[in-house]
């Protein structure tokens, strides 16, 4: 068995035992000295839908940055798709990130390009053949309900539509995990619900979905696993739980 196959087997075993996301006693202290995470342990299995909730400063954003390997843990281990992120070399990070789709509260679209270009861009990065891109992008845009808007500039779209473009871009390469950082933060209730329904559909097709949110109404209504964080530690982790505002 080759070294590469051995590593793949090891990763598969790690996923089977600990899930697609596994944080083992993880702490993160910033160079300013302020601790953001304090000994967190968390397992998220393949195909799960998990809400991560908590007040500002609870460590949610730091957690997302650790999962994207934008930051490294001060202590403890972070495994994503069986990869030990502390051992990941700089040149391996782009390939690793292709396993993860990510959407943000502020959409982060390329505003000087149209809807089609924004989604196609993610496929160009992974060097998909242009003919295949021309075939894939319209299908993905139809999936997120933007079939007729592929020529529109992103600035001409509503907030909900922009978030759908971001979702299409995040999903076009069929990632195993979708991280959504406050995906409804800039949307009205109607659009928020539509986006959450889309996320649920995506999860239904087998993608692991992790949503960081402040939206109590949505969390409580969707009856999914809820991980609550406070001051850098996990204070509750419940299947079908509720977002309890401790204030």
């Amino acid at each position: 068995m080759s070294n590469r196959e051995l590593k793949r087997k090891k990763r598969e075993q790690m996923i089977a035992e600990n899930g697609v996301i596994y944080l083992d006693n993880v702490s993160k202290v910033y160079s300013t000295g302020s601790p953001a995470l304090n000994g967190i342990t968390l397992n998220i299995g393949q195909g799960e839908f998990v809400f991560i909730v908590g007040d500002s400063g609870s460590g949610k954003s730091t957690l997302i940055k650790l999962l994207l390997r934008e930051l490294t843990a001060t202590s403890g281990s972070v495994y994503v798709m069986g990869h030990d992120l502390a051992r990941l070399k700089h040149r391996q990070i782009p390939k690793f990130r292709r396993n993860i789709g990510v959407v943000f509260q502020d959409f982060r679209l390329l505003n000087d390009r149209n809807v089609y270009e924004n989604v196609a861009f993610a496929q160009r990065i992974v060097e998909v053949h242009p003919a295949e891109i021309r075939r894939n992008v319209p299908i993905m845009l139809a999936t997120v309900g933007l079939a007729g808007k592929y020529k529109a500039k992103t600035r001409q779209l509503s907030g909900g539509e922009q978030q759908r473009v971001a979702l299409a871009r995040a999903l076009i390469n069929h990632p195993s995990i979708l991280l959504a950082d406050e995906p409804t933060g800039n949307l009205d209730p109607k659009n928020s619900w539509e986006i959450m329904q889309l996320l649920e559909e995506i999860n239904g097709s087998g993608t692991t979905v992790v949503v960081v949110t402040h939206n109590r109404e949505i969390v409580n209504a969707m009856k999914k696993r809820v991980v609550t964080m406070k001051k850098g530690v996990i204070v509750s982790d419940e299947e079908g739980g509720e977002y309890i505002d401790e204030d």
């Binding site: 990510v102 982060r108 390329l110 993610a122 160009r124 390469n173």
Partner: protein, 316 residues
């Protein structure tokens, strides 16, 4: 890398320029201004050196030899030694030895008759020499030695004085010192100004590129989140920088070509007498060096400016 990715990178490099036209214009203007100053300086220095070289070509050392006829005399502006009589064969041998010296560009033998004729004609007119039945300078054969490098004049003089047949070596140390000093001064000044200009251009261009890229740091950020490699992110920006550098170099080259061509034609037509004393560098001669150097500098500055600035934004 796939061909489709390469083509995409090239397309992005071009479209980045138009997408950020104000930043691109600012960068092109900065590079153009710096390379314009560089080009003008290069033209001035080249012409100055060419003129100095022409002057150097006229500087000569004259060497006289001991002979049987007449007394040795002191003309007051050279060195004198007592020594052996130079035979014709020895004179020829010394002439060959002088010609073989690396600092010597030309050696002219001046016979005693030629010397008398020349002196008499220059001083009193052509018929004056004919009034003398005998040559007062009989035996005063000499060599006129022209140097390719005047800074080597004293070494040559020392060597000539060591030859036993040499009676007098006539030369102007002041002219040689002034010329080699001027040459050195020009070299130092032009090197200094070019170094300052390059440092200023790299600083200005890095800043301009940094501003342009910081505006697009969000775009770089998105690329990195989606899983773009450093090369994929960097390549269009670097290509853009190089294209801006290329355009920034072509503009001043065109302007300098027109200005220099016009100025040279004007000077040569209006002040044709100058061309007898001064050796101006032709447009073709000037641009043979200036074109590749400017293009290389423009593209190189664009490359360095963009690659360094993009690197700062890749740490996502």
């Amino acid at each position: 890398m796939k061909i489709s990715t390469l083509l995409y990178t090239i397309r992005q490099g071009f479209s980045n320029i138009f997408r950020n036209k104000w930043y691109s214009l600012a960068s092109v203007a900065t590079i153009s201004a710096c390379l314009f100053l560089f080009g003008i300086l290069y033209a001035v220095v080249s012409n100055f050196q060419s003129i100095v070289m022409k002057v150097e070509e006229g500087v000569s050392v004259t060497v006289f030899f001991h002979h049987e006829e007449g007394p040795t005399h002191d003309d007051g502006c050279g060195s004198h030694t007592a020594g052996q009589i130079a035979t014709d064969a020895r004179l020829e041998e010394i002439g060959q030895m002088i010609a073989q010296r690396p600092e010597v560009s030309k050696v002219v033998f001046v016979s005693d008759d030629e010397a008398w004729q020349r002196w008499a004609t220059e001083s009193y007119g052509e018929e004056y020499a004919e009034g003398f039945p005998e040559n007062p300078l009989a035996g005063d054969n000499s060599y006129e030695i022209y140097l390719s490098d005047v800074s080597m004049q004293s070494a040559l003089v020392t060597w000539l004085e060591s030859i036993p047949e040499v009676r007098t070596v006539r030369y102007s140390q002041l002219t040689a010192d002034t010329l080699s000093g001027t040459n050195l001064l020009i070299a130092y000044i032009s090197l200094g100004i070019i170094a300052i200009l390059l440092a200023v251009s790299i600083f200005l261009i890095s800043n301009t590129v940094a501003i342009g890229i910081s505006v697009r740091s969000e775009e770089i950020n998105i690329m990195k989140y989606v899983g773009a490699t450093d090369f994929f992110v960097r390549a269009p920006f670097v290509l853009e920088g190089m294209l801006i550098g290329l355009v920034g170099a072509l503009i001043p080259l065109g302007i300098i070509y027109s200005i220099y061509n016009y100025a040279l034609t004007y000077v040569l037509e209006r002040f044709s007498v100058l061309s007898r004393f001064l050796n101006f560098v032709s447009v073709d001669q000037l641009f043979k060096t200036l074109t590749p150097v400017s293009l290389l500098l423009g593209v190189g500055i664009g490359f360095l400016g963009s690659i360094n600035t993009v690197r700062k934004h890749l740490r996502v």
